[in-house]
């Protein structure tokens, strides 16, 4: 029944947004994770994409996490000779994580999750209205 499908789809939607939140949290937590010795690479920002896929078991199209990749943009270089990971010139590589970008992404993920919760609530009320006909 399509109303049940709506619930399944919204659930899939919330699941991918939660995964996105996890990646964002990982990025923010590691925003300052440099290498521990000279020449090493700091933490590289992770990215996530979604895919619209056909769920063969349910026969409906839902959404799934497509690929978790890495951001290939250059690292930030800061001058700090006392740092254990500083190179011969005294520069340290910092992760390519921009906290502002992550926070904006997080807001977006939250908004999308709320939208999915709305779908669940409305679908649920449609179902209960239908079931209430039994009492007529």
């Amino acid at each position: 029944m399509p109303v049940n499908d709506s619930l399944q789809i919204a659930e899939a939607g919330m699941r991918v947004q939660r995964e996105r939140m996890r990646i964002i949290a990982e990025n923010i937590a590691n925003a300052e994770s440099t290498a521990s010795k000279p020449g090493g690479e700091p933490y590289r920002r992770k990215t996530i994409t979604f895919q619209n896929v056909l769920d063969k078991q349910l026969g409906i199209e839902t959404v799934k996490v497509g690929k978790i990749g890495v951001d290939k943009s250059p690292f930030e270089k800061k001058y700090d000779p006392s740092h254990p990971a500083a190179d011969a010139q005294g520069y340290v590589l910092y992760p390519n994580v921009n906290t502002v970008v992550e926070l904006t992404d997080m807001r977006d993920a939250r908004f999308a999750t709320e939208a999915n919760i709305n779908v669940v609530q409305i679908s649920k009320s449609m179902l209960s209205q239908t079931l209430a006909l039994l009492n007529k």
């Binding site: 619930l7 979604f50 409305i122």
Partner: protein
């Protein structure tokens, strides 16, 4: 007794099937609000007005599966697919990744859809009550 053999019940059943299918399509749009390249979808509403007119002429017509090719066989109508789903090409708000879902619009569509659903369910309930009155057990029990 099959309720849908009574014209109005049949029509309401079709409308409810259409509305719940639309709800699933809207849910899909919202779930895919951040999927790259995903295009908003919507359902093509069956011509309920024509069905109503046909039924008042006495030739009650059931909601049929959409036939898009001459080779297709018109089904007897399944509850899952009453209306055709199509992609909405231009919502005027396409993200750089090719996604054109506008969540606000989907929310509005969903509220309208729910209101319509509620309306038809209410009518369905009223019809049942009327039948009960006719039979003579109107107290609802």
């Amino acid at each position: 007794m099959d309720y849908s053999s009574i014209t109005l019940f049949g029509l309401m059943k079709s409308k409810l099937a259409y509305l719940s299918q639309r709800q699933a399509v809207i849910a899909q749009n919202i779930a895919n609000a951040s999927t790259p390249g995903y295009k908003t979808r919507d359902t093509v509403e069956p011509d309920f007005k024509k069905m109503m007119q046909d039924s008042s002429k006495g030739s009650a017509q059931k909601l049929q599966l959409a036939v898009t090719s001459g080779n297709h066989i018109a089904g007897i109508g399944s509850a899952n697919q009453v209306a055709r789903t199509m992609q909405v090409k231009n919502t005027g708000d396409t993200a750089p990744n090719g996604n054109n879902v506008v969540i606000e619009e989907e929310m509005a569509k969903m509220s309208m859809n729910q209101a319509d659903y509620q309306k038809v369910i209410g009518m369905y309930g009223k019809m049942i009550t009327m039948f009960k009155t006719a039979i003579g057990s109107a107290s609802g029990a």
